[in-house]
């Protein structure tokens, strides 16, 4: 099974638009997954029909039985996160759910309760089954939710005998991105030719090297800054990324977002044409087995 993950470092470079376009162009059967759990936008382009949803629990929160509490303050002394105030109220934002307070409470007045932090959805789309999720705003444990979405996508692929999983990732290089990298065969990085785009691509490439995952590069909106695009290309070469192609700035991309459809279905414009070509390269270089 091959897992192909779309990442960008910087947000808003076009990961989701490109992932949806390739999902629509791929004729090989695949599972699609959206692991950008705090801004899950891929479903907005794939006309999903929800099949099932389930709550997701991760992490713990301390719950105190005020009847048992003698106010001794041991919990406050032991907490390293400053989450327990002078009046012994527990601040949910500072609490990491480590349970040290509960462990040391001499009265056993604190129990750790599992927390529901989000929901996982299974949908069907015209392009294949889609596993996606929503992290409740402000929750921790986005990494665990990412791992669970991926686990379900893999199970589904095994059950249905599908060889590919196409995954839309999150921006950044921290917890959810690191969680999304485990078991990935290749990453497709989407960068834009800006100073920020260049800077963020380098950090993401370093992360891929750290985890020894091969990376490919797509430059989006390449014509906005041709010089910066060639700098991106040079940098990609130095960072060991293979180049898949460029996509020009095209106002029709907005139309595809507005209509909620993958770009190749609603546009024959320059961006759509570029994506067709890129899809060919993806087939040749990543999927294997020649051109589609």
């Amino acid at each position: 099974m091959k897992e192909i993950l779309f990442l960008s470092g910087k947000g808003g470079t076009g990961k989701t638009t490109i992932c949806a376009a390739l999902a629509s162009l791929w004729e090989k059967p695949k599972v699609i997954a959206d692991v950008d759990v705090d801004a899950s936008n891929l479903p907005l382009l794939l006309s999903p029909r929800l099949l099932s949803q389930s709550p997701f629990q991760a992490g713990w929160e301390p719950v105190r039985d005020e009847g048992k509490c003698t106010g001794c303050g041991t919990c406050r002394e032991k907490c390293r996160f400053g989450a327990i105030g002078e009046d012994l109220t527990i601040d949910p934002f500072d609490c990491e759910g480590c349970g040290v307070c509960a462990w040391f409470c001499p009265e056993e007045a604190i129990v750790m309760k599992e927390k529901e932090v989000g929901k996982i959805f299974l949908s069907e789309t015209p392009y294949g089954p889609l596993v996606h999720a929503e992290l409740y705003p402000g929750e921790e444990n986005s990494g665990k939710l990412v791992v669970e979405v991926k686990r379900r996508a893999r199970l589904l692929a095994e059950e249905q005998g599908l060889d590919f999983i196409l995954i839309d990732g999150s921006p950044g290089i921290g917890c959810p991105v690191i969680a999304s990298l485990s078991g990935v065969s290749v990453c497709i990085l989407v960068a834009e030719p800006t100073l920020s785009g260049l800077h963020d691509l380098k950090r993401l490439a370093a992360l891929l090297r750290h985890f020894k995952i091969p990376g490919y590069l797509i430059i989006n909106k390449a014509d906005l800054a041709p010089e910066m695009s060639s700098e991106l290309l040079n940098s990609a070469e130095r960072e060991g990324l293979s180049f898949l192609g460029s996509i020009p700035y095209d106002p029709e991309v907005f139309e595809c977002l507005r209509l909620g459809q993958p770009l190749p279905l609603v546009s024959k414009g320059p961006a759509s044409k570029a994506l067709l070509e890129i899809n060919g390269h993806v087939y040749k270089n990543i999927v294997g087995g020649g051109e589609q």
Binding site: S8, G9, K10, G11, G12, T13, T16, D38, A39, N41, L44, W60, K78, R80, F93, E96, G97, C98, G99, V100, W103, F104, M112, L135, P137, G138, E139, E140, S142, G143, P171, G172, I173, G174, C175, P176, V177, I178, A179, E192, P193, T194, L195, S196, H199, D200, R203, A206, L207, H210, F211, K221, L224, A225, M228, Y249, F254, L257, R258, G260
Partner: protein, 274 residues
């Protein structure tokens, strides 16, 4: 006043706006997107201080360990485990709660440390800038953001926080304690979807919020009734113009292309103060 600039969706223009606001008012600027910090690319500050930030992870003296398994029992993050004759620590899973150090009956677990990231402080164009850079491969951004805020934020004057994208704990760590949060969005279905999430997240903190629509003019009217329904004031619209995107690509600020924005910023600040 502390003003946080946030957005659910990435790439909506948070940094562009935070930098322009800091330039317009000579405000202090804190770039809290420690995974991908960008504000310094536009301001090119002369750096005066660089600081390393470490986080605590357990370090086990196996010669004194009886492999009783207490440390494994207390750890809810599966960051430490005992096998016959050895103890394994997984620093990337560790939250630094000190639970294992506290329970070890032999006292053979000590404080170790790993590099979490670096903090940079500098000045450019009269603006004081601070930013953090998370070490590549480190999953947890929040503790570095916390350290950065503790070191840099003062009591007086206008201070702007450029937040990471999303709605998870790192965002709340960045926004927390701000007097007001500017939510930057764009009139697209993605922009609306992620704004909804971000507005909910900021609300849990009790920080008042208003909206700046970037790339205004894209034909997606659905955004505006949402703002009205949620009681989110529309504070400013920045038009969708190719020149702005091109200037950004070159690393030029918003005010260089649209100097007239300065007076809009002044009005915006007045409105927030009210």
């Amino acid at each position: 006043m502390i003003l946080a600039v946030a957005s659910g969706k990435g790439g909506t223009g948070k940094t562009t706006l935070a930098v322009a606001l800091a330039q317009a008012f000579g405000a202090r600027l804190l770039d809290a997107d420690v995974e991908e910090p960008n504000a310094h690319l536009f301001l090119k500050p002369a750096l005066s201080v660089e600081e390393e930030v470490y986080r605590m992870v357990p370090s086990v003296d196996e010669s004194r360990c009886t492999f009783c398994g207490k440390c494994k029992e207390i750890c809810r993050f599966k960051a430490i485990t005992t096998l016959p004759g050895t103890v394994l620590v997984f620093p990337e899973m560790c939250h630094g709660c000190y639970g294992c150090l506290e329970v070890c009956p032999e006292g053979c677990i000590e404080e170790g440390q790993v590099l979490l990231g670096r903090l940079y402080f500098g000045k450019a164009q009269g603006i004081e800038l601070a930013y953090g850079v998370l070490e590549v491969g480190e999953p947890m951004a929040s503790p570095l953001i916390k350290a950065l805020k503790e070191r840099f934020l003062g009591r007086d004057g206008l201070q702007i926080i450029d937040c990471p994208p999303g709605t998870s704990c790192a965002v709340l760590t960045a926004v927390r304690g701000a007097d007001f949060c500017l939510l930057v969005t764009e009139p697209t279905p993605f922009g609306l979807h992620d704004l909804r999430q971000a507005a909910r997240a900021v609300r849990t903190l009790g920080v008042p919020a208003g909206v700046i629509v970037n790339r205004a003019g894209l034909d997606y009217p659905e955004l505006y009734p949402f703002l009205e329904k949620e009681g989110l004031p529309l504070l400013l619209e920045i038009p969708n113009r190719r020149e702005i995107a091109e200037a950004y690509a070159r690393g030029e600020g918003l005010l260089a292309v649209m100097p007239e924005l300065k007076s809009s910023f002044e009005k915006l600040l007045e409105e927030i103060r009210r």
